[in-house]
């Protein structure tokens, strides 16, 4: 089977009209940027590229040593920024994964086949350390649940917490044959996760406003052979779902929920590189959550289930209270659910 790659091949001419990043919220230090040439738009994810390059094993080892020392040197500075960035252990593990994605199975011999040139590895790692570019954008993928999802700038990197949304769906009786919707799907993570569990009559509609997200989600859906199970629709929240209004067995979403005032203080990997569109939830962070709750009343069929990710604890409690108070006639069993860190991360409930 041949998959259509939505990414420009590296050798293709980079389109000058497409900026490297979405508008950065805070510029990285000028010193970090000055030494780096402008980079072409995202290429094929590292692990999917052919083993078209090679290097002497000793040269790859030299890269590892250099990269490790760069990480160790940078770690105290990252810690001093106190923005929750990676420590030395994390960086060194990312380095081993970078090499893992760039090479094939353990090879013997003095020559190592690579998916990128060695100089590209140097450049990527420099970006990781100096520009705090997220590791997942570096390699173009994120391991999430048992999936390897393609990601790139412009699309939110799926978070570990969000994995649990799929587990919650899988606990709903008869979920396999229902119609589901994942609103603001981003990379398509939740939709693909659910789609893989569905039966013959089950289906997921995955919506997103962002053309970047739609493109990446479509690629991930096709890569997992789920074109029949997951339908991507471009548009905001409920708008693309008018034809299935009142028929949905369940709604899930990881909407933007960070209060606008927190955006400027975010961890560099998030604030400098991830799309604000996927993060900023308005003044209290609840703009989209409330919109989702309200719309759920008409979108869900009776007995339909919803599960939304929130900013945690207080926000979850607020949303759960609000639903029970304002829309108590429509929903029952409204509750907050903990993530593995013990934070009330999700709000779930059932349409009466």
């Amino acid at each position: 089977m041949i998959l259509r790659l939505p990414f420009a091949i590296r050798s293709a001419l980079p389109s000058p009209s497409l900026p490297l990043h979405r508008r950065p919220i805070r510029s990285p230090p000028a010193s970090a940027l000055s030494s780096l040439p402008p980079r072409p738009r995202q290429e094929i994810p590292l692990f999917l590229r052919p083993l078209a390059h090679s290097a002497a094993r000793s040269d790859l080892d030299a890269f590892r040593r250099w990269a490790k020392s760069l990480a160790l040197t940078a770690a105290p500075g990252i810690a001093a920024a106190a923005d929750g960035g990676p420590d030395a252990d994390h960086l060194i593990r990312e380095l081993s994964w970078l090499v893992q994605d760039a090479t094939s199975e353990p090879e013997v011999g003095d020559e190592v086949r690579l998916r990128v040139g060695l100089e590209e590895l140097y450049r990527l790692w420099r970006e990781r350390i100096e520009k705090r570019r997220p590791f997942q954008y570096l390699v173009g993928c994120e391991h999430w649940r048992d999936l390897v999802l393609v990601v790139r700038e412009g699309v939110l990197i799926p978070r570990p917490e969000t994995e649990l949304l799929v587990d919650m769906v899988a606990e709903v009786e008869g979920f396999q044959e229902g119609l589901w919707a994942d609103m603001g799907t981003g990379s398509g993570a939740i939709a693909v996760g659910i789609g893989r569990l569905l039966g013959v009559r089950g289906k997921v509609f995955a919506t997103d406003l962002s053309p970047d997200a739609v493109e990446v989600a479509r690629f991930n859906v096709e890569r997992y052979g789920l074109k029949d199970k997951v339908e991507i629709r471009e548009g905001p929240w409920f708008e693309p779902l008018q034809d299935v209004k009142g028929k949905l067995a369940g709604l899930v979403s990881n909407p933007p929920y960070i209060p606008s005032s927190h955006i400027s203080g975010l961890q560099a990997e998030v604030g400098w590189h991830e799309p604000r569109l996927a993060l900023d939830g308005g003044k209290d962070g609840t703009d989209y959550l409330l919109h989702l709750c309200e719309g759920s009343a008409s979108a869900l069929k009776p007995g339909g289930f919803f599960a939304f990710e929130t900013n945690g604890d207080k926000q979850s409690e607020f949303i759960a209270d609000f639903i029970s108070t304002m829309w108590g006639n429509f929903f029952e069993n409204v509750e907050t659910v903990l993530d593995f860190a013990g934070i009330k991360r999700f709000v779930t409930g059932v349409r009466r």
């Binding site: 929750g84 990676p86 252990d89 994390h90 593990r93 990312e94 994964w97 997220p134 590791f135 997942q136 994120e142 391991h143 999430w144 649940r145 048992d146 999936l147 939110l156 990197i157 978070r159 570990p160 917490e161 994995e163 990881n254 933007p256 929920y257 960070i258 927190h262 975010l266 961890q267 990997e269 998030v270 991830e274 996927a278 993060l279 990710e309 929130t310 900013n311 945690g312 993530d339 593995f340 860190a341 013990g342 934070i343 991360r345």
Partner: protein, 486 residues
Amino acid sequence: MGFFFVLKRSCSRVRPFPPINPNGKSSLLALFSTSLSGSRARNLISSHPFSVGSFGAPRGPNGFSGSGKSLDFASLPKVRLFSSQTAALSEPTTSDGLTVDAIAAKGWPILDESESDWRSHAAAIAQSIRLIKKRLQWRKMIVRLEQLSAALNKSDLWDDPVYAGRISREHGELMGKIKAVNRFEQELLEHIDLLKLAREEGDKELELESMKALLDMRRDAKEKELEALLSGDRDSCSCFIEVQAGAGGTESMDWASMVMNMYKMWAQSHGFAVTVLEEMPGEIAGIKRATIKVEGEYAFGYAKAEVGVHRLVRISPFDSAKRRHTSFAAVAVIPILSDVSTQYQIKESDLRIERFRAGGAGGQHVNTTESAVRIVHIPTGISATCQNERSQHSNKASAMAVLQSRLDQLEMARQAQLNAEHTQSLTEISWGNQIRTYVLHPYRMVKDLRTNYEVSDPDSVLDGDLDGFILNFLSTLLDKDEGNTS
């Protein structure tokens, strides 16, 4: 004429007893009656100095050489036939009443293989069979078989189907092992009978063939001796190896990482797949603790010989005063049971799953590649952590597998206490005993304190050349007790 023709063919090409191979899982049964299947297993075998299941001649899928058709031995006047029903517990003899034990007791001189002396071959084979039985803990096996048979005969057995299943499976496996050895004994006695017959009849050709068959058996027997070292219930399993640094700061954390590295290299040199599940690095160097998964046939059977405390003596590179230091690292090895039905049943409600080393707001606030998970089994307090997978889901799955094995091990220990006699050999391997010393200064030596086996090249050992230590320990462990074989 026709009679001898038949006899010769059967003798050289066909084993007169049908194979039994109920499930192919029982390690020894597999060793005795079938060759390991799959090219991977074969690669493994060829790279092992103490190989498993490497029979001299290539075999068909059922462990038979050749494809000659089965012959009716019952019609042959001088060859005694044992039915498979009674074979397990009756003692086979030659036509003139010689048993394998009697042959071993005769003290016939064992000459070089190249000497065509049937008594020498027979004596060597009989000795091997004695050793094999000792290593299999033959008497305990027979006692256990009787216990299991009694249990199987109880009318209320199937009231508890899980228990019944376990009992009947163990009975089947034990029966298989015993029969496999008995078949080997019968084969010896039949070749002796045939050889004597050939001499009586003056058939030189048959005599030569029988002699050759005895020689083949003799070589086979040597391999089976080694195979019998890995006859434990769980020996064929994959395993986890855990290394923990002892007290002593950076020097012992460095030692722990050297030990872990030694096992990684040992495992890789044997073709086992190695995965790092958990690694807690030391502040300056080395590791506080690490767990690896070692996957492959008989990984546990070998690695179990490494359980205990490993001691290092050297000039510490972390001591500016260049003093000599002694450090310790503890090694644990846990089998990964492949048979789900024998696993400890974990209740979901007994588990507490935590994000490990997580802090801050989480969610969209944080971009991290850290998704370590710790799972705590609340009733026992046993926990497992995995941090090296690339998704939380995979970390959880790996931590769950470690937890499962730890609980299985706990359950095994509990059952071992209930049934102390049968599993005595397992409890001899216990955590906490100092088993080996590695001296890098003032002299260079690695010495096993259990077997006194030693080598003067610590570097090769630390590079994973552990087979001498493992083999010596396994044979010492199994050969020291059970002086009396049945």
